[in-house]
């Protein structure tokens, strides 16, 4: 769906930093997009399985813009925050000049009504710009009292956590368990395998 005229093999695989810098900052600042691929879905709180065909889908992940909101309630359930804030740091090489570009929150989708909802395997990463004026370190956000800011754009990345995959897109370039076994066996000269 990330339809483009790139050759086969090119995919929308943004890093957290890219999402924040190239998409969230520009959205927030009304700057033109290049490319404009992530749609706005802040009007209607879709259930995660309804995102197909509406959000940008790449590799079983859906991307869309939304607004920061206190309760993400959909027709069939709600997104429960996991109280885990993660800063998105700039990847600048010198550690002194690294700064916080944005924040990332994790949500799990629950079917039903809080607090009795049934946990699902749908996960959301919500990217937002850093809270202005507040020090990022004192981020002991209390349960049920998130900052209310309806004016702020966020980017939501939604996917279904599956048990049968190997844990993450970064793992695509990772060795399999078996490779690691063979690799460590290579350390024993007497049992190293023939090519």
């Amino acid at each position: 769906m990330a339809d483009n005229n790139l050759p086969p093999g090119f995919r929308f695989y943004p890093t957290d930093e890219e999402l924040v810098v190239h998409f969230l900052h520009r959205k927030d600042g009304f700057l033109p997009f290049h490319p404009d691929v992530i749609p706005d879905l802040d009007v209607y709180p879709y259930n995660p399985w309804e995102l197909e065909g509406k959000a940008l889908c790449e590799g079983s992940k859906w991307y869309y813009y939304s607004r920061k909101m206190q309760n993400r309630v959909t027709e069939s359930g709600y997104w429960q925050a996991m109280e885990m804030d993660e800063p998105i740091m700039s990847s600048s090489s010198s550690s002194s000049s690294r700064k916080i570009l944005g924040m990332k929150n994790y949500y799990v989708f629950y079917l039903g009504e809080p607090p009795a909802g049934v946990w699902t395997s749908w996960i959301m990463h919500e990217y937002r710009l850093p809270d202005s004026g507040s020090t990022s370190k004192s981020s002991s956000r209390k349960r049920g009292h998130p900052k209310l800011d309806y004016s702020k754009w966020v980017i939501c990345k939604v996917y279904e956590q599956k048990n049968d995959d190997d844990g993450g897109d970064e793992n695509d370039t990772e060795l399999s368990c078996l490779d690691e076994v063979f690799l460590s066996m290579d350390d024993f000269d007497e049992i190293s395998l023939p090519n």
């Binding site: 005229n5 995919r11 429960q80 996991m82 946990w119 956590q161 990772e174």
Partner: protein
Amino acid sequence: MREKMNISVNGESRVPPGFRFHPTEEELLQYYLRKKVANDQIDLDVILEVDLNKLEPWDIQERCKIGTTPQNDWYFFSHKDKKYPTGTRTNRATASGFWKATGRDKVIYSSSKRIGMRKTLVFYKGRAPHGQKSDWIMHEYRLDDNTILINNDTHVTRVRSGDFIQEEGWVVCRIFKKKNHLIKSLDSSPINKSNNMALETHTSNMLDSPSDHDHDHDDQGALEQIFQFIGGKPQDISNNDINTTKSSNQQQYDRFLKLPNLESPNNNINLLVGSYYQTMPENDIASITKTEGDPDSVYNSAVGLSGLNDWATFETMASIFSPSSSTDHHHHHHDLDHLPQLKSSSSTSSSGDRIYHPNGGTSTLDNYGGSNEIDLWSFTRSSSSATGSFGIDPLCHVSDSGI
């Protein structure tokens, strides 16, 4: 709302932000390598030719940049023609080291049809046999022999046997650096440093997005691989018809048959656990053996280095050995229902089936034999002993199982 994106990879312009070259193995073989072998025009020179003997891995990393986006892996074509003087093996030596094959080649499928093979190689600095293993890994993809014969006429005359052709012609390669998850994860989450290290690492791995390459047939769960290693052969049959499954199953099984025997059965499992999960310095054999009789150290490193899949593995193994808790466990975690890798294929005995099911309280271990059972048990004990410590996070659901 979508605009045309004109890019030129090798020129001034660049890949749009957020996009990167992330081909599936199928795309690499079916599109890029097939075109290369057939001398067809490839729309963009995304994948360059590299003389493997002339470039070190870190040089390839420079040369095979695509645009300006950060990359974790680098792709290139290589023409295999040079041999070591002593034999038929491809010479992959560079000025400062050499690439050494490891493990067994993996079959690559495209919609259940075998299209090629993947070889895994490791870069060693120095000269054999005294090279020092590095973190650089290469996956070398080749098309199946017969397809090369069909598509590349110039090579037909030189081809004598199937063995020979494996060392001939074009291959497409991907190189990347082996990662250390523990360090990386801590590094990227400075705010979380004060929290429980293992928990943080575990959850951040868990929250990584799922893999996108569903046709990556070889991405089996650790549990399955360990069971395969031991003798059980659970297999995901959803992708293939039975025949294909059986043959690939047999191939995978074959490689275990060819594994050299280690000294004692106990070493087998400890090697498995230690080598896969432990953050160990290169060539540090002592750190593998250290894990013997120290289940907690195995576990801690396991949590640090493994993703969700391994977590599910532990969970399932724990449930296997705790029949009393499995019902409750199942009730809370319906997602265990669709663990494809935990289902046995028809080629496995029916008792094997029951073992992997979360609800199957009957832990029939008979078909694993006595010594292996002990190994399994020690492996599980180390995992289940620590599962209780994760009651904080909603996703750390193992705590519910009351093990």
